[in-house]
Symmetry: D3
Subunit: 138 residues, 6 copies
C-alpha cells in the first residue's frame, strides 16, 4: 500500500499568454482572449501531493504544517497577487499556461521537499482547466 497526503492552497495571479515571436494575429489565433494586452488573471487552486513512510510516533508522512509552510514560502508568497510574466522569477521566461506553470511549480517544490517525496502537483486555472505534473515513475 502506498500512502500519500495532499495539501490544497489558493492564490490569485495575473497572466497573459503571448509569444513575441508570433504575429499579433497568430497570438490571437492560438491564445484567443488570453493574449489580450491589458491582462487578466485567475484564482488558482494548487494541490500538492507527497508520499513516504508513515512515522508511527506522529502518524504522519510529513507534518502538514511544514508542508503548508514550504508551499507558502516558495510558491504562494512569490505568486499571489503577482503577474507571472513580470514579477515571478521562476515563470518570467515561459508562456504561463496552466501546464507550464504546473511544471515549474513541481520543479520548485521538488527542490525544497525531501528527496523523492513530491509525487504530484495539480493546478486549477479555472474549475474547468486543470494541469497536472507528476513524477514520471508514478
Amino acid at each position: 500500500m502506498k500512502v500519500s497526503i495532499t495539501r490544497k492552497a489558493h492564490f490569485t495571479s495575473g497572466h497573459r499568454l503571448y509569444n513575441p515571436d508570433f504575429s499579433d494575429e497568430e497570438n490571437r489565433r492560438i491564445f484567443g482572449p488570453c493574449s489580450n494586452p491589458n491582462g487578466h488573471g485567475h484564482n488558482y487552486v494548487l494541490e500538492v501531493t507527497v508520499t513516504g513512510e508513515l512515522d508511527p510516533a506522529t502518524g504522519m508522512i510529513m507534518n502538514l504544517k511544514e508542508l503548508k509552510n514550504i508551499i507558502n514560502e516558495h510558491i504562494i508568497s512569490r505568486c499571489d497577487h503577482k503577474n507571472f510574466s513580470v514579477d515571478v522569477d521562476f515563470t518570467r521566461d515561459i508562456i504561463p499556461t496552466a501546464e507550464n506553470l504546473a511544471k515549474r511549480i513541481f520543479e520548485v517544490l521538488d527542490s525544497k521537499l525531501p528527496d523523492g517525496t513530491l509525487q504530484r502537483i495539480k493546478l486549477f486555472e479555472t474549475e474547468n482547466n486543470i494541469a497536472i505534473a507528476e513524477r514520471g515513475d508514478g
Copy 2:
C-alpha cells in the same frame, strides 16, 4: 409566494485596486497586495436573480436562454479576459472592488431587463469574498 430564478455565469478579468489621490503607501495600506502595479485578476462568478409572474403557457418567469443572452451580451462579452480599469467602459472610472463592480453590473442589467424584474446580483470575487447588490425594496 414570490418566485424567482437565478442564472449563474463565469468570467475572468484583471483588476487593480488603486486610488491616484492616495500616496503609494496609503494605497498599500488600504488595498494591500491588490494595489500591486503589474496586475492580477480573478475568476468571477456572477449570479443574476430575476422575479416576476409565472407564464402558465411556458412555466417560466423569463426564458433562461434569453436571460443568459442578456448577461452574455452586456456583461460577459464586455468583461471576460478584460481589465476593469482599462478595457471596460462601465467600470473604468471606479475602483474595481467586488462591491463597486456588483453595483455597476446591477445598473447595467437593470437597464436591459424588463422593468423591475432584476432583484439581485451576487458577485463572487473569490470563494471567500462576495458582493451583493439588490433592489432596495427587496
Copy 3:
C-alpha cells in the same frame, strides 16, 4: 433577529419541457433541447428553509431529523428516479420548469410543515439554473 435553518436534499428526475398547445417548432424555439421527446433529467438539489422560535430546551427551531423526514416523505420519495410529467401527481399537470417545480414543492411542504414556518425553497436544476419560491412577506 430572525433565525432559520436550511436542510439540503438531493434527487434525480426526468423532465421534458413541452406544451401540447404549441407546434413542434414553437416547442423547439421556446424550450430548446429540453423539448426532446425521449427525455432527459437532472440531479436536483433542494434547499428548504424554515424559521421560528428557538426552543431553549433543545436549542432547535425544528428538529432537523423531523424536517428531513418530511422532505423525504413528501418530496424525495415521490420525485426521485421518477418522471415529473408521468409519475409525480403534484407536477403532472404543469410544465416542469425549475420555477414551476419550486412553486409546487413550496406548496406541498407548506401544507405539511407547522403553519407559517416554511420560508423559502431553493431548487437547483443544474449548478447554473436555480429557482426560488419564498413566502411573499419575506
Copy 4:
C-alpha cells in the same frame, strides 16, 4: 439599491448536543447520535454579511481585511479546534445546535461591528445543515 459584502471563514470545533435535564433516552431520541458522550465535531463554514454605504474613495463598504480581522479575533480564534461546551465562553451555556451557534455568533459580531452594519450570519454545520441569523428588519 442595497449593496452588501460577504466574507467566508472556516473553523473546526467539537460539539455535543445534550441537555442534562433530559433522561439519557430523551437525549438520544431528540439529539440522536449527536448526543454521543465521547464527542465529535464539524468543519464549520461561516459567512458574515455586512451592509452600508459605498465609500467613493476606497470603493468599499468596509475593508474586507478589517472584517476578516474582526471575524478572526472574535470568532475563529475562540472557536477553532475548541469544544463549544467546554472551551468557548459565549457558547458554554447553550446546546450547540447550528441555530443556537448562529444566534450567538451574530450577537458577538453585532457588538464588534459598526452599528447596524451586520446583516446576516450563515453557519454551515455540514454541507446539508445550515443555520441563518439575520437582522429582524431585513
Copy 5:
C-alpha cells in the same frame, strides 16, 4: 516528470438501467429505481485528461480550445439532452451505467485525439457516483 491537462465539460442526459433478458423483478433487484420505466436522468460532469510533450512555442500540450471542440463535437453534441438508450448511437446497445458510459466515451475520444494522448476519462453521474476509464499502462 509527466505533464497532463484536464478539461471539464457538462451535459444532461436521460438514462434507464434495464436488461430485457432479466425479469422485471430481477431488473428491480439489480438496478433499483434506476430501472423505472418512465426515465430519469443526470447532470453528468466529464473530465478528459490528455498527456504529451509541452510545445515550447505555445507552452501547451494541446490547445485547450481544440480539446474543448473535440469533446463538444464528439460527446456533448451527441449526448446532451438526449436519452442514452434511444438517441445516442455509441451507447444504444449497452446498459448505460456510469462505468459503461465512461468506457464508451473513452473509446470515442481515443479515436479522435492524437495517438496515445488520451490518458483518462472521469465521469460523474452524481456527486457521489463516479466512473473512471484510463489507459491500461497508466
Copy 6:
C-alpha cells in the same frame, strides 16, 4: 483500458492528535491545536475506488448499492458521530491523522471487498487536507 468506479460517503467524527510518549509541549509543537484536550472533529468525506471487469449483463464492475452497503456497514456505522480514539476499535490504537485513518480504512475495506478489487481510498479531513491510500502496484 482499466475501468473503475468511485463511491463517495460522508461521516462526522471526533479526533485528537496526541502521543502520550511526548511531553505536552512536544504534543503542542508537533500537533498544534489538534492536540487540544477537549476534542474537536471533522466532517470527513471518503472516496472508495474499486476496479474490475465489466459484467456485460449488468454493465457493472460491482453494484454501487452493494459497495455503498459495505462502506456503510464497515466504516460509516462504526465511525460516524464517534471518537476515533475512544469508540472506534480499528483506530483506537493509532494517532488519528488523516493518513493513518486512510491506511486503516483501506485495510478494513480491502478485507471485505472481493480480492484485489479495492484500488484507492481518498479521505478528506477538510477541503484542504486529504490523505490517499492506494494499492502499491497501482
